[in-house]
């Protein structure tokens, strides 16, 4: 078996983000790590929208990012700490729009290891040194400098190791131009490891240590080390240093130590200041719980600075330090605003705050004010004895604040993120769709969503209006060449033409000079200020003064097709002749003396745009009825001579020559594409060889069932092509690469570009008698998302087999259910406590819910109508019960009536897993599944983590036990059980009487149910222990599954064993077979193995295109959606794996990870080719492309074509 892995949607989680002037321009940019991908974002300061500049797969796991700038420099560099055992300095090159690896220094083994640095990065604020740290012991310091040619240099590493020290955080101190100092938060475990009484552990102190890099002596010394709060977790740099020009200090220097419930200001030989972290005074708050700061950002303005710290609840605090030179007078904290919990916060100088939220969409906020003069209570270290350090072992009295809606920030933009995808289903549910949709359960807590993903570009309709008749074509035109916007809309009907003007209102124009009594074939703004209309009887050249020069078609002949550009007009006559016109320098339209007879009826014509500074374009493409497309010269030397001829599979209905940039063909200048739309709904994309005028590198794509019509439009100021068939497609250039994506919009009969002040890059189209103006807001996104909000974290979902409603189970840990919360409030009330109603009613999707102790759950079952896009019913679970699994079962004992079984458990604890009691709740569907009614509850001894319908009964994985239940009157009846599983059963699949059981820690086992003896027997298992997350059966003997560490693999059972088991009627043979290696008697063999880099949460075997082959579709926790395509021919396998091998050597990872070892992170990669790597072929330099293609005995075009074909036939993307 050979599989080809393709990512359809890359991970959208943002574990880290940094800000800097990476392109060297004045504007700041944000670099976001998506775990295995780096993305450069640029905010538009006018609109406040974020746009992606580039995104690159790094084929490694990014663990830390830092930005630095050399003293006196204007450009920031990014440093990346990863699992490659290397430190990498990246430079963004705006010229080629790519990240360039400036330095790559190896220091250790690859992998995210305990003592190999890469986890923490800290830079000196003056850009002189960087420290890279591991979780334990290892810290390396690199000195950064410039050489004589002003290039960045990096020194050999200096060690700042400390044995047996666990590192919590490191940060660079701001010391101005004195020797760079790094502060580290460390705990030494030597003594705790030796002391059996546990006293040393209890007394273990967390120390704040300063490591000074002595630039003169070139070594690192431990300068200062003092114990601090034992629950400290984060350090924040405090500005310091002195300007050379003045005596003023920028700040006191030192660090803020963020600990549980407290923030402490620390510096060598300086007084400590301690302040409490204000809490929400929530009636349901768990008072035993501490509060920590999880992310922080410092912002320096002219002569001042402040900190924004975010707590784990999402509340932002503004911390300010009052200081006189180097002496801190007071540290103050107050509530600022509440935003989603972030993994990183970035403040931009232009007044934006980027919140890289850890789950869900990422936000960009704009600062409205800085919270300087509001009534928020402020807590200062001066309010407490000895600045809060009177007794540092005792906590300060708790401080409180009142959360409120945003006041200091305003949301400017939101980036859609699928992170985390917890479960997904792939099926075609929506009407009028021929490709399946992906339904995902995303998010965490109250910000969870259920999303419907459709392949295509989102369309925003601005105008939709009915017309008196059914037009067959529409155009827009400017009046003068240098007009910004279009002035006229021209509609052509069967027997006339209507001209509308675009202004405040859209109204009819009478004196436009257009002939209104005949249909129109083409409209063009020609020359400097003239207009041109082609109609069946002739060509009208309307000059600026409204005089009309008309060329009439010869008697008895009509014009059947026309094509125009700014200087040239070509028309085809009904006599199969072509007439050519060109604008002369006086603005006069002259016909070329000869007409060209084509010998076959002309169906379509196209000329390209006139190149900048030229008189004309040299090529004309003509599509004839005899299934040919001819290229004809328009060059003055050989005007109207045929250059080349291309046969096409069916008559061409439309042709469009467009010059578009595609970096995979030509990096610097646009390529001339000849797109040929055929009657059969196929689009042929060919490249016009500029030297010989031949059509080369042709690729075909099926667009829909109607004949294709091609229209040239503009997107992002670049030419694009709209292809109309039964679906509308847009062919456009995005980030220098060509994309071809359908629009999610109704079928269009005709369309044209539309540019007006309010809609500068719009499109206008007609469907039937409706005129619609629309635009495409998000180019580059391939999936349109529609979401429905959920209450709690979704756990699993399924779709009803008949009525196609979705049933989603949601459960949140450490949250009180509604009934428990109400009860607790009641208790507090009766105890005479005042309840703050306002706090209770805070919207949970913005503020989250109050955290409760471990063992509490809030959970519900939700019914969703995905077609209508709404929730139709919610069934909350009470008594601290949480739902973990569900299945729809046709119980044979009830005449195959479909029942919903939900596996729940009460008072569940996660580690170690335990519960008071598990339940199987059986529900009946009412009103076609719109609502459900509880039939009965069956108690179980453990948490039912997986359920499945099996031969008219229910099979359940309840903890370690696999059981079959049948329906009874009062409860489900246990029929048979097998308790040989290792940890807990998490997945179940079945075919026939075979059940595939996925264990939480012990991979997939094959079990069989032998009905005659009522036996449930395990007959085969895996040779490796694996932490299964999801699985699916590929066929009767093959299973594809994924584990918790980001691997996807395929296991197969020997067909002989399979037959043997099936032939044994009673299962006695298996029962008495001897187990191998303390497991089942037979072992499955590994067919394919691949490390995706994201934790795969669901895997499905399905087809992604109508009539296409089955592929494996998987979704990842961080938002990845990918497919594994089986390669069918040996030839394909050889080709693609050789290509992969070559690219591996040419394209080195941006973080310095070896590709082969990345894809074989835990187990060597087997039988899977990395399509993402292969597709990076398009971005390689031309010489390398040619080299690789040469090795493969192919041309570059053929390689690209093969890659595209693999993607398109498997996924349609």
């Amino acid at each position: 078996m050979h599989l080809y892995n393709l990512t359809l949607q890359s991970a959208s989680a943002t574990p880290q983000a940094i800000v800097g002037n990476f392109s060297g321009a004045r504007q700041q940019e944000i670099i976001v790590s998506h775990g295995t991908r780096l993305e450069l974002l640029r905010p538009d300061l006018q609109t406040g929208k974020l746009s992606t500049v580039i995104a690159t797969d790094v084929f490694g796991s990014i663990r830390s990012l830092a930005t630095f700038r050399l003293t006196g420099g204007t450009k920031d560099y990014a440093i990346v700490g990863s699992d490659s055992g290397r430190i990498v300095i990246l430079d963004y090159d705006p010229r080629t729009s790519s990240f360039v690896k400036v330095h790559q220094e190896t220091f250790g083994k690859s992998g995210a290891r305990r003592i190999v640095p890469g986890q923490y990065l800290a830079t000196d604020p003056k850009g002189r040194a960087v420290m890279i740290g591991a979780l334990e012991k290892a810290k390396l310091v690199y000195i950064l400098n410039r050489d004589a040619a002003a290039n960045l240099t990096i020194s050999s590493p200096l060690e700042a190791h400390k044995n047996a020290a666990i590192i919590h955080h490191i940060v660079g101190l701001d010391v101005g131009f004195e020797n760079p100092i790094f502060a580290a938060l460390e705990v030494d475990y030597t003594e705790s490891d030796q002391d059996p009484t546990g006293e040393a552990f209890n007394n273990a102190s967390k120390v704040l240590t300063y490591y000074e890099l002595d630039l003169g002596l070139n070594h690192v010394v431990r300068k200062w080390s003092e114990p601090t709060d034992p629950r400290a977790n984060l350090l924040v740099q405090v500005p310091g240093g002195q300007l050379a020009s003045s005596d003023r200090f920028d700040g006191p220097s030192g660090v803020l130590v963020c600990a549980e419930d407290h923030i402490i200001y620390r510096h060598m030989n300086a007084t400590q200041h301690r302040i409490p972290i204000p809490r929400r005074r929530h009636p349901l708050e768990d008072t035993d719980r501490g509060l920590i700061i999880t992310s922080a950002v410092m912002h320096k303005m002219k002569g001042a600075f402040f900190f924004l710290l975010q707590s784990e609840e999402g509340d932002l605090y503004k911390v300010t330090i009052e200081h006189e030179n180097e002496d801190v007078k007071a540290v103050k904290i107050k509530y600022f605003d509440t935003v989603p919990i972030a993994s990183s916060l970035c403040i931009l100088k232009s007044g934006f705050l980027y919140v890289a939220s850890e789950f869900g969409n990422q936000q960009l906020y704009q600062f409205q004010k800085l919270g300087d003069d509001d009534n928020e209570p402020e807590y200062s270290s001066t309010d407490y004895p000895s600045y809060g350090m009177a007794d540092s072992t005792q906590p300060l009295p708790r401080a409180y604040f009142h959360p409120r809606p945003l006041e200091n920030l305003a949301l400017a933009d939101e980036t859609e993120s699928l992170n985390p995808i917890i479960d997904a289903k792939v099926l075609n549910l929506l009407p009028n769709s021929d490709t399946p949709q992906i339904f995902t359960a995303n998010g965490r807590g109250a910000r969870s969503t259920f999303r419907t993903l459709r392949h295509g570009l989102d369309v925003e309709e601005t105008v939709s209006s009915d017309l008196p008749g059914i037009p067959n074509a529409v155009w827009t035109t400017k009046i003068k060449e240098d007009d910004m916007y279009d002035s006229y809309i021209i509609l052509s009907f069967v027997n006339g033409t209507l001209v509308l003007s675009i202004g405040e209102n859209i109204e009819e124009v009478q004196d436009s000079g257009f002939l209104s009594s005949a249909p129109t074939l083409a409209v063009q703004q020609i020359g400097a200020d003239a207009l041109l209309q082609v109609h069946p009887q002739g060509i009208r050249h309307i000059l600026a003064d409204r005089t009309v020069n008309e060329w009439r078609a010869p008697a008895g002949k009509t014009i059947v097709a026309a094509t125009t550009n700014k200087r040239q007009v070509v028309v085809a006559l009904s006599s199969a002749e072509i007439a050519y016109f060109e604008l002369d320098l006086q603005g006069q339209l002259n016909e070329f003396q000869d007409r060209k007879a084509m010998g076959s009826r002309v169906l379509a014509l196209s000329v390209g745009e006139v190149p900048e500074g030229r008189q004309r374009t040299a090529y004309l493409a003509v599509g004839c009825e005899d299934q040919t497309v001819r290229i004809i010269s328009l060059d003055p030397d050989n005007t109207l001579e045929a250059i080349s001829l291309q046969y096409v599979p069916s008559p061409a209905t439309s042709i469009c020559i467009a010059e578009m940039l595609d970096a995979s063909i030509d990096r610097t200048s646009p390529t001339m594409f000849v797109n040929i739309g055929l009657q059969t709904g196929v689009l042929m994309r060919t490249v016009l060889d500029p030297v010989q005028g031949r059509l080369v590198d042709s690729r075909q794509r099926f667009l829909g069932t109607r004949p294709v019509r091609l229209i040239k439009v503009q997107t992002q100021g670049q030419p694009a092509i709209l292809a109309l068939s039964s679906r509308t497609w847009l062919n456009y250039t995005h980030q220098n690469l060509m994309h071809f994506t359908p629009l999610i919009f109704e079928t269009l009969d005709y369309a044209w570009s539309f540019s007006a002040e309010l809609c500068p890059e719009g499109l206008i189209g007609i469907t039937g008698s409706v005129l619609r103006i629309f635009q495409i807001p998000k180019l580059g996104t391939k999936l349109k998302q529609d979401s429905i909000p959920l209450s709690y974290t979704p756990r699993k979902m399924l779709v009803h087999p008949v009525n196609s409603h979705f049933y989603v189970i949601e459960a949140d840990y450490r949250v009180l259910g509604d009934d428990a919360a109400a009860q607790k409030v009641q208790e507090l009330r009766s105890a005479g406590k005042r309840i703050d109603e306002e706090m209770l009613n805070l919207p949970p999707d913005q503020f989250g819910r109050a955290k409760a102790p471990a063992g509490t759950w809030a959970s519900c079952i939700r019914v969703i109508d995905a077609i209508e896009g709404k929730t139709v019913a919610v069934v909350p679970l009470d008594n601290n019960e949480a739902a973990f699994s569900l299945a729809v079962v046709p119980f044979e004992a009830r005449q195959n009536e479909l029942l919903l079984v939900v596996g729940t458990a009460q008072e569940t604890f996660l580690a170690p897993r335990s519960c008071k009691s598990g339940f199987l709740r059986t529900y009946k569907f009412l009103e076609d599944g719109v609502s459900i009614e509880l039939l009965h509850k069956t108690e179980t001894d453990d948490v039912p983590l997986s359920l499945m319908a099996f031969q008219g009964r229910l099979v359940a994985g309840i903890g370690k036990a696999l059981r079959i239940y049948d329906i009874g009157k009062k409860k489900l009846l246990r029929k048979v059980e097998n308790k040989t599983f290792a940890a807990a059963i998490v997945t179940l699949n079945t075919q026939g009487s075979r059940i595939l059981v996925g264990d939480m820690q012990d991979s997939i086992s094959f079990a069989v149910y032998k009905a005659p003896e009522n036996r449930l027997l395990v007959f085969a298992d895996d040779t490796q222990p694996r932490w299964i997350t999801c699985s699916t059966m590929v066929d009767y003997t093959t299973v594809a599954a994924a584990d918790r560490f980001g691997n996807v693999f395929v296991n197969r059972l020997d067909i002989k064993v399979s037959d043997q088991v099936d032939d044994d009627p009673t299962g006695a043979g298996i029962l008495h077979e001897k187990g191998i290696l303390m497991g089942a008697p037979h072992k499955t063999s590994l067919l394919a193995h691949f490390h995706v880099g994201d934790l795969v949460t669901s895997i499905h075997k399905t087809s992604m295109v109508a009539g296409g082959r089955d592929v494996l579709v998987y979704t990842g926790l961080h938002g990845t959606i990918g497919i594994l395509v089986p390669l069918v021919s040996k030839e394909d396998v050889d080709f693609i794996s050789t290509l992969e091998q070559h690219i591996r050597t040419e394209q080195t990872s941006l973080v310095g990870r070896d590709h082969l070892s990345w894809r074989g992170y835990y187990v060597p990669v087997k039988g899977v080719v990395d399509g993402d790597l292969c597709e990076s072929f398009a971005r390689l330099p031309v010489a390398k492309q040619q080299g690789i293609a040469g090795e493969l005995d192919r041309t570059v075009g053929e390689v690209l074509k093969k890659l595209e074909q693999l993607r398109v036939t498997a996924s349609g993307y």
Partner: protein, 87 residues
């Protein structure tokens, strides 16, 4: 580092053990081995963003809290060491 190694002449091995924390040896106690295993696992959880997210979702905590608690637990993941026999 274990005291047994001190008496062996193989100082090079001793050096290697000091350098590569977590490397096992023949006379390692069950407790030492387990503690190393747990520390490695915990650091792997903190080091892999997907695992941190996974745990955070399961545990209903912020990823920052998970990272903090995992790092804290590295100090003594398996409880205090067993008391040494005095003989």
């Amino acid at each position: 580092m274990s005291s047994e190694l001190r008496y062996t002449a193989n100082t090079q091995l001793e050096h290697l053990h000091a350098r590569y924390t977590g490397t096992g040896h023949a006379d390692m106690s069950k407790y030492d081995w387990l503690t190393h295993q747990h520390r490695d696992t915990l650091s792997s959880i903190v080091g892999h963003p997907t695992l941190t997210s996974y745990l955070a979702i399961a545990d209903g905590e912020a990823t920052g809290r998970i990272k903090f608690e995992m790092t804290e637990r590295m100090l003594q993941p398996c409880g205090p060491p067993p008391a040494k026999d005095e003989d």
